[in-house]
C-alpha cells in the first residue's frame, strides 16, 4: 500500500496572511489538531494546536528543569500570550518544519515517519508532489482506518 491509498484529500487548509483568531474559527467545529497552510496551492506550513499551547507558555517552563510546577499559582500571562498570539497572522505562528512524503511512498515508511520522536507534536504527514503542491494528509487515524479497518477478523 502507498501513501496515496490512505491519504485524506478533503482537508481544511488555511491562508497564511489572515489573523490566527479568524483562521481557527472553522476549526472549532471539526476538532482538527492540525491544519495545513497553503499559498498558491503550495504547502508552506502547518498550524498545530499542541504547538500553539506551547507558544503561549514561557519557554523556561518547558526547557528548564523546573520539576512539576504545580507549586505555583496560575499565571495570567498565558491568557495574555494567547490574546497576543490570536492577533498574529497564520504565517507568524505556523510550524515550518513538517514531515512530508510523496504519494508513491510506501505505507510502512509513512508510519515510521509518523512515529519519529523529534516531530511528535505534528499530527499528520503531508503528501506533496514535486512542485510542493499539497495533495493530501495522513494521520495515524488514516493508517489505522485503511489497514486495520479493512482486516477481516471473522474468518
Amino acid at each position: 500500500m502507498l501513501a496515496r491509498d490512505v491519504m485524506t484529500t478533503d482537508f481544511h487548509s488555511l491562508k497564511p496572511d489572515i489573523p490566527l483568531h479568524k483562521a481557527l474559527e472553522p476549526l472549532w467545529q471539526i476538532h482538527h489538531f492540525e491544519a495545513p497552510v497553503v499559498e498558491d496551492g503550495r504547502l508552506v506550513g502547518m498550524v498545530n494546536i499542541r504547538n500553539l499551547v506551547r507558544q503561549s507558555l514561557p519557554r523556561y517552563l518547558l526547557e528548564a528543569e523546573m520539576g512539576d510546577v504545580s507549586y505555583a499559582p496560575d499565571l495570567h500571562q498565558v491568557t495574555d500570550r494567547m490574546r497576543a498570539m490570536g492577533r498574529k497572522t497564520v504565517r507568524e505562528v505556523m510550524v515550518t518544519h513538517y514531515r512530508k512524503v510523496s504519494a508513491d511512498t510506501a505505507l510502512f515508511a509513512v508510519a515510521a515517519l509518523l512515529m519519529k520522536e523529534d516531530t511528535k507534536e505534528a499530527h499528520n504527514v503531508a503528501v506533496v508532489d514535486d512542485n510542493g503542491r499539497l495533495e493530501g494528509l495522513i494521520s495515524e487515524w488514516d493508517i489505522l482506518r485503511h489497514v486495520f479497518g479493512q482486516l477481516d477478523f471473522d474468518g
Binding site: R59, Y60, L75, Q77
Partner: protein
C-alpha cells in the same frame, strides 16, 4: 636557546621533524588557547587535540602527560557532579528558591537579596553552573508572577553565584585546582577566603540597590501570588531528599576533616557519590537500578572533565619544556621578587584575564608558575606575610574576575541563555557596563582584605 629558557630536560632528541621542543610546546599551547578563546570549536575537542599533538610530536611522552593530569581535581569534580545530579531530582533547589521569595514577603528587592543569598550559599557548596541552572528558571517564574522585569534579579544572581563560589575549596573550578594542587585544605579556604565574601556580597548589593532596587515595585496582587506558592509541593521526592541531605552532610563533614584524616577531597567526593548512588538504587531491580546509574553518569558534564584532562596535559608540556619556569623568572625579574607586589599583580592580572577568558585554563597555567616562584619569594623575603597569601590572591582574582563580563564565567552565559528565552535578553555591552565596575569594586575589596590581613 637552552641557556635562554633554562633547559629542555634533554627531550629534544625524541622530537619529530627536528622541532625544538620548547617552541613546539609553546606554539601548540598558545594556538590551543587562542582557539579556545574564539569559542568556534568545543573547548574539550580543542584541548584534547592539543594534548594529542603534544604527545604525537614527541614533546611529552604519554606517561608524563598522564602524570600531568590532576586526578584529584577530576575526581572532586566528577564526584560532586554525581551528587548534585541525584540531589537535584528531589526538587530541593526549587523549594529553596521559592522559600527565599516568601521570606522576602514577595517584595521585589527583598526577593533579589534573598534569592542572591541562597544562590551564593549553594554556589559555595556546588558548582555555579548547576546552581544558576536550577535557580534562574524559578527566578524567572517569580518575576513573571510579580509582573516585573527579571533583569536586575538575574544580574544579581550571576554576581552572587561567582562571589559565593569564591568562598570554598569546592565552590569554583579555580579553587578546586588550587586546593588539590597545593597542600591547602578545605578549612584553609574557609578560614582565608570565606570571611571576605559576605563583605563583597553586601558591597555588590549597594550599587544594585541604588540603580535598580529603589525603583523595583510590584502590585499587591503580584506579591499575593508569590505568597500563594506552595513550596512544599516543589519537593517531588522527600525520601530522596533525606538521603541526599544525609550524604551531602557527610561529604561536607568529610571536607572539613579531610586534612586531619589524611584524605584528599577527591576521595571524599567520590565516596559520597558512590554512597548516594547506592542509596538511590537500593531495593530496585537490576534493570531499573542500572538504568538509574546510567542516567546519573550521563549527567556528569563530560565536556568539562575532558577539557580538564586535555588542559592538564598541555600545561604539563609547557612545564616540561621549561616555559613556565621561564615566565616565572621573568615575572620575578619584573617585580624584583617582592612578595606583596607579585601577589597583587597576580590578583589583578587574574581578575582582568578571567573577565575575558575562561578562568580554568588561566589558573591551570598559573598554578605551576606560582609554584616555581616560591623559592624566590622565600629568598627575597615574605615581608612578614604567610606564603599562602599568593594563593588567596590568585583565587580571589580568578573567581571574582568571572563577574567582569558576560563571557567571564559559564554561569553568566547560562543565565543569559535563559534570559534570552524568557524575552529579556542580556546584551554583552550593557552587562559589561554594569558588571565590569562591580567586578573592580569586588576585586578592590579583595585587595584591601589581602593587604590588611596578610601584609
Amino acid at each position: 636557546m637552552e641557556a635562554a629558557h633554562g633547559g629542555s630536560h634533554g627531550a629534544s632528541a625524541e622530537v619529530l621533524f627536528g622541532l625544538d621542543p620548547f617552541w613546539a610546546a609553546t606554539t601548540l599551547f598558545i594556538l590551543t588557547y587562542v582557539v579556545i578563546m574564539t569559542e568556534r570549536v568545543n573547548r574539550a575537542i580543542v584541548a584534547l587535540i592539543g594534548a594529542g599533538l603534544v604527545i604525537t610530536l614527541g614533546v611529552l611522552p604519554q606517561e608524563k602527560a598522564v602524570e600531568g593530569v590532576d586526578f584529584n581535581t577530576i575526581g572532586l569534580l566528577t564526584g560532586m557532579m554525581v551528587i548534585v545530579s541525584i540531589s537535584r531530582q528531589s526538587g530541593v533547589f526549587q523549594y529553596l528558591a521559592i522559600k527565599s521569595a516568601k521570606w522576602a514577603r514577595g517584595r521585589p528587592w527583598g526577593i533579589l537579596v534573598m534569592l542572591s543569598l541562597v544562590t551564593a550559599l549553594l554556589s559555595a557548596l556546588l558548582d555555579n553552573v548547576t546552581t544558576v541552572l536550577l535557580i534562574v528558571p524559578v527566578a524567572l517564574l517569580i518575576a513573571d508572577e510579580l509582573e516585573i522585569n527579571p533583569y536586575p534579579i538575574l544580574l544579581s544572581l550571576v554576581m552572587a553565584s561567582n562571589v559565593g563560589g569564591t568562598a570554598t575549596l569546592i565552590g569554583d573550578p579555580p579553587n578546586i585546582m588550587i586546593g588539590t594542587q597545593t597542600s591547602l585544605s578545605f578549612n584553609d579556604f574557609l578560614l582565608n577566603l570565606a570571611p571576605v565574601i559576605p563583605l563583597i556580597f553586601l558591597a555588590t548589593l549597594v550599587p544594585l540597590y541604588l540603580i535598580y532596587g529603589r525603583y523595583m515595585g510590584a502590585t499587591k496582587e503580584g506579591m499575593e501570588r508569590i505568597m500563594a506558592f506552595r513550596e512544599r509541593d516543589a519537593i517531588s521526592d522527600s525520601g530522596l531528599l533525606k538521603k541526599a541531605l544525609a550524604v551531602v552532610g557527610l561529604v561536607i563533614a568529610g571536607f572539613v576533616g579531610h586534612s586531619q584524616m589524611g584524605l584528599e577531597p577527591a576521595t571524599v567526593a567520590m565516596s559520597g557519590a558512590a554512597l548516594l548512588l547506592l542509596l538511590y538504587t537500593m531495593g530496585l531491580g537490576p534493570d531499573e537500578a542500572s538504568e538509574r546509574v546510567h542516567g546519573v553518569f550521563a549527567e556528569v558534564e563530560w565536556v568539562t572533565i575532558f577539557f580538564f584532562v586535555g588542559l592538564f596535559m598541555l600545561v604539563a608540556s609547557v612545564e616540561h619544556v621549561g616555559l613556565l619556569d621561564y615566565l616565572a623568572r621573568e615575572v620575578m625579574n619584573a617585580t624584583g621578587g617582592n612578595f606583596f607586589h607579585t601577589s597583587m599583580a597576580i590578583m589583578w592580572v587574574s581578575a582582568l584575564a578571567s573577565a575575558v577568558v575562561d578562568n580554568i585554563p588561566f589558573v591551570a597555567t598559573m598554578i605551576p608558575m606560582i609554584k616555581s616562584m616560591m623559592p624566590t619569594f622565600h629568598e627575597v623575603g615574605l615581608q612578614g606575610a604567610d606564603i599562602t597569601a599568593v594563593w588567596w590572591a590568585l583565587a580571589l582574582g580568578a573567581c571574582l574576575g568571572g563577574n567582569g563580563s558576560l563571557i567571564g564565567a559559564s554561569a553568566n552565559l547560562i543565565t543569559a541563555g535563559f534570559a534570552e528565552r524568557a524575552g529579556y535578553p542580556i546584551r554583552f555591552v550593557p552587562f559589561l557596563l554594569m558588571a565590569f565596575p562591580l567586578m573592580l569594586l569586588q576585586v578592590g575589596i579583595a585587595t584591601i582584605y589581602v593587604w590588611y590581613r596578610y601584609f
